[in-house]
Symmetry: C2
Subunit: 309 residues, 2 copies
Amino acid sequence: MTKERNFSGVIAPVLTPFGPDGAPDADRFIDHAHWLIEEGCTALAPFGTTSEANSLGLDERLELLETLIDGGIDPSMMMPGTGACSVTDAIILTEHAVEAGCKGVLMLPPFYYKNPSEEGLYRFFSEVIEEVGDDDLKIYLYHIPPVSQVGFPLSLIGRLKKAFPEIIAGMKDSSGDWSNMKAVLETYPELEFFPGSEMHLLDGLRKGAAGVISATANVSPAPMRALFDSWQKDAADADAQQAKISALRNAVQAYPVIPLLKALVAHYRNDEQWAELRPPFETLDAATAKKAIAELAENHGLKLEFDEA
Amino acid sequence: MTKERNFSGVIAPVLTPFGPDGAPDADRFIDHAHWLIEEGCTALAPFGTTSEANSLGLDERLELLETLIDGGIDPSMMMPGTGACSVTDAIILTEHAVEAGCKGVLMLPPFYYKNPSEEGLYRFFSEVIEEVGDDDLKIYLYHIPPVSQVGFPLSLIGRLKKAFPEIIAGMKDSSGDWSNMKAVLETYPELEFFPGSEMHLLDGLRKGAAGVISATANVSPAPMRALFDSWQKDAADADAQQAKISALRNAVQAYPVIPLLKALVAHYRNDEQWAELRPPFETLDAATAKKAIAELAENHGLKLEFDEA
């Protein structure tokens, strides 16, 4: 850890709120982003899977990044998602993020066509890198095969890293598969590696991970941040912190995660509009939301606090 | 068949050619579209899976539809693909196609998030239909679970058809699963149904299908058109025609289909640029292309003919 990291710590894939007209809501979005930083997030990853980024239009994604910056979020604290099925749109989104001053981008592979060749995926990223043509570009590979189906095999990571050593900066691994995370951490220790769930936060840190990028950081970043800050001091205490963090995550995962996270923000902000999602997602039904919110508060102490406006 | 169909016959999901700069090539695109109609296609479905539509940017898709219309293709002969993961982009594409005069659109379901609820998919299509708000909109549901993973269960088709009887006009079924096709044909005989492969053309026609929308129609629409025009005259002859059509399709499917189709056009047009694909696809290597082209000519009589320019 002699080399200073570009990104580290606890990063939230920022939820995207929608207004009564169904359009993304700028004020709610900015407020949530600031709250996440106050609560301990070290950086933000807007336009991730949890952000319903793939339910946003191209122009909406471009505008919403400006919204956050205009709303006072330092672009150097952001790693926006800029992946797309089309290399054209991926270039537009990535170029825009770099020009806006984002210190990194989180990129999905093209995910419509299944079983692409490694060469085809390599070409996709090469074209983005060459077209953007900016030394400030830092790409974090977004490996999430349970959703995208298309992922990053170890050999592809190695090939990209070799060809673009200064640009391929890291990886988010949302495979849920610790053996894959371990293999990436061991094979490419120079990558800034983030498990996609806090279930693997401590195991990751002990193997050299840079932190975590997790959906749950939208409602409970503080315990992850505390563990990130303290894990090297006392192994037993770190294990105990991880156990609590994992218990909360397990409880959250028992429900549809994105609808539940939005229901939690809606409840504690006393703002029902926050609970809305874009199709193909549905708002959590009121009874389930009530039950989940009570259970998380009672069993896991999860309560979101907001300053009065 | 008392009611006149909106679309019927042999429809090609038009290949998208790219120029030396990697951008879609307008002249080659227009030439290919005209050739398809001359060869027997009754209509065109640009921006399908075979068209690498999901490797095109939003603006490229909008512009290329104008390109075809400006190039002399009657918009009423077109059923462009207008699906997208994001309801916003699906609305933009669909509205544009309807305003341009297209008599139908072929719509994928949102395909990033997996295992969406039926309600979520219903909401997606409802929002598109309500936002476009045009009685001229005719949607053909694009069921292709092997690629999109997300499909249209029978119950969803029924619900959409009931809510929007004048707008849900038909379906393309690229599941490759005859039992599903049969179920749709039997349950919703009023839908204009198109198998996504000519392997099921005659079986489909005998069960009430409106025709076929197939990748292979990019290189060999004439035999499909001949079968479509003659199948009711002589059952044994129709079976014999289908056998030849299926044999060609099987031979094509032994290779990566889209790269092979482009290699065929490149070969017979003597224009290597035609063989290029966008990532994540790769151009068929020269040796394989040569072998495939020779085999298809020898065993199946497949040769593309073009007027001298």
